[in-house]
Symmetry: C2
Subunit: 399 residues, 2 copies
């Protein structure tokens, strides 16, 4: 049975994913196309080096947006003198095929740095791509944006919005990729969120910023930051709800839905970290400030030593403590509590606890670490993955 999954879940969004020849056989070219104009909001990499695709998108993001083209296998950055020209040629051709001015089109790329996009291969595939696009193409698109990802990542969320005392459903769908070069602000990843909600630009901006802050900005795979990070949310308003404005109850409902979608995808990205087989969730509470809590949580989730210990299921809480201490924030180490799973392992001083129990906790597919600082009331959660020999093998060589 055909299903409207991922980005195709909300009303009026088609998607497609095909092979255009950047990769040998796997899908490498995707598109999301909306029936009607969308407002689009985005968060993107803070890396000084940015891909041409990202620069193109940032130029057009404030226009009404109709579609986005996405390729994998080539990051479209630092590839050569005519990288920008090639980008423009591709987008002009996409514009012709889709029948929409290129001002209304976005572009995103992921893959290896330093190679020009194969202009002709992509251009000659655009017609097929657009013709293939359907309301059931979410899965194909989610596959086409994968690089070293082990599985496609999609999410569908339905949330009810009260409109004139009658509740109406709005839908949020999304897909994401990301496996290496994953580090906070942003994690190296692409995420595409669609919604049929009618929402004001400023409300969408706020909702997305909050959602990204607590999700994609809180995952780390290897502390390396990409040149292509891009989270974009398209809203086409087809759900017919009364336009959502900031500081309303509708806004809260929508924000919650969007945050859930982003958290789901972010966790999937962390879980799918290169070479990893375990998701590490780090909760920090009792911090002086949210900034402190976030910093400590990310520091622990990103520590090579903590991550390697998780691989060996070695309950080395000393590394967790040292990692927390190195986050340049103030707290009293003796007032700190550390938990692995539900077991307290440190309470100012080491707790006596059976190591085999802790080893079991660290062997779970989702490993949970909690640090209570007992200094204040702020908290934060970060996600990472374990560090394995396979991570090194994957990143040593081209294939």
């Amino acid at each position: 049975m055909k299903k409207k999954t991922g980005v195709c879940f909300p009303l009026g969004f088609k998607a497609a994913g095909i092979n255009c020849g950047i990769k040998k056989e796997k899908k490498d070219l995707a598109a999301i196309i909306s029936e009607t104009d969308c407002i689009a909001e985005a968060c993107s990499t803070t890396n000084r080096v940015k891909s041409y695709s990202l620069l193109w998108s940032l130029k057009n993001i404030k226009n009404p947006v109709r579609a986005i083209l996405i390729n994998s296998g080539n990051a479209n950055v630092l590839g050569g003198r005519n990288g920008w020209e090639i980008t423009c040629n591709i987008m002009e051709e996409f514009s012709k095929v889709i029948g929409v001015n290129s001002r209304h089109l976005l572009f995103a790329s992921t893959g290896i740095i330093g190679k020009l996009l194969p202009e002709e291969k992509i251009i000659s595939s655009l017609k097929t791509l657009v013709e293939t696009a359907s309301y059931f193409g979410g899965n194909d698109a989610a596959e086409a944006i994968m690089t070293t990802d082990r599985f496609p990542k999609q999410i569908e969320i339905e949330t009810s919005i009260k409109t004139h005392r009658k509740s109406r459903f709005v839908h949020i769908g999304g897909m994401a990729k990301g496996a290496g070069m994953i580090c906070p602000s942003m994690a190296t990843m692409l995420a595409f969120i669609t919604t049929d909600a009618a929402i004001s630009r400023s409300a969408l901006k706020d909702a997305l910023r909050n959602a990204v802050n607590d999700s994609f900005n809180m995952i780390t795979v290897d502390n390396d930051q990409s040149t292509n990070d891009f989270v974009v949310c398209f809203a086409n308003g087809l759900a017919g709800n009364k336009t959502i404005q900031k500081d309303t109850r509708d806004f809260e409902e929508f924000s919650e839905g969007l945050s859930s979608a982003c958290e789901f995808l972010a966790k999937k990205i962390a879980e799918n970290g290169e070479g990893s087989d375990r998701l590490i969730e780090v909760k920090v509470d009792g911090a002086w400030s949210e900034k402190d809590a976030r910093r400590i949580a990310r520091k622990i989730a990103g520590s090579n030593l903590v991550k390697a210990a998780v691989t060996g299921a070695w309950p080395n809480w000393g590394r967790i403590a040292a990692s927390a201490g190195s986050a340049c924030t103030r707290f009293d180490p003796q007032a700190m509590k550390i938990f692995i799973g539900k077991y307290m392992v440190f309470d100012g001083f080491p707790c006596r606890i059976d190591e085999t129990i802790l080893r079991k906790e660290l062997s779970k597919q989702q490993v949970s670490i909690r640090v209570s600082l007992n200094s204040g009331r702020a908290s934060a959660t970060a996600w990472g993955c374990n560090l394995t020999e396979q991570y090194v093998r994957i990143n040593m060589e081209k294939e």
Copy 2:
């Protein structure tokens, strides 16, 4: 033939290294003892969690110092409620054996976090330790402070200081350890420097700070920061030179010697990174500010992806570029040049260069990466090591 190596190279310093039972067979307890009072200056970890040994030393560092006790195999941090008491007991006993008030003694520890020091084992070995101490004990001490280090690290430097128009030699000696948990400011490491130079406290402080800033603070193995980092320099004045004051030519000479000693030891630590078989030297020039240059150099030297690519001898300069871009500094990516060895691989755009040549460069024991930003005049050098599967194996389990 017996040699005065490492910390024993300057006049008047004895050292010893023995096994006291923290480890099964390997040496695990060391001492450096000066014939006369020294002034001591130190740089230590900024980690919020600090070892009891470090706290002890920081308390006494401003006093005239006669000796330092060092143990490996146990970090003496977060081990239990009476960790501080045990530390004091050990130092009081060391004081009795050596015949010097404990106010004049320092302490340093390295090893696993979260275990109490074996008080009795250490105390019952102190007499032997002090009796064994000799002018030829440098190597024993350098061995006793090792943890997962593959080789002891020592340095001897002689430098001439002009005193009343007659030049006089002063000597600088040093030893260091460090293999994992190595990250800038400070790297997780211990370094002990001795000198027979007569020097004012403020001059020693400045010279050490400068030397550490360009050496130990510029190495990274795994971006994890220790609770025990400690660089300490002892000056006993036995060389008989006119006391070195700040802003003099003598100060320049001494500083240069001290900097060379620190750089040598720092590079040895990076080279000896856990599981690594290659030293990576990253030079950044043409940056707007020294802060920028330092940040970028450390970011590249610490990038898991760059380090894994070096292991595979894969000239993936895209990762170098992305890593530079992520350092939160301003530069124009198109004006950037990247060199691997002496070969330019990126000049605003990719350079055509035979991959086999680059693979050879990346297979050398010392891999050299240079990034020219062409933005300003500041430069910096950082050192790291490659990331291997063995690093993961070492850090997965206890043994």
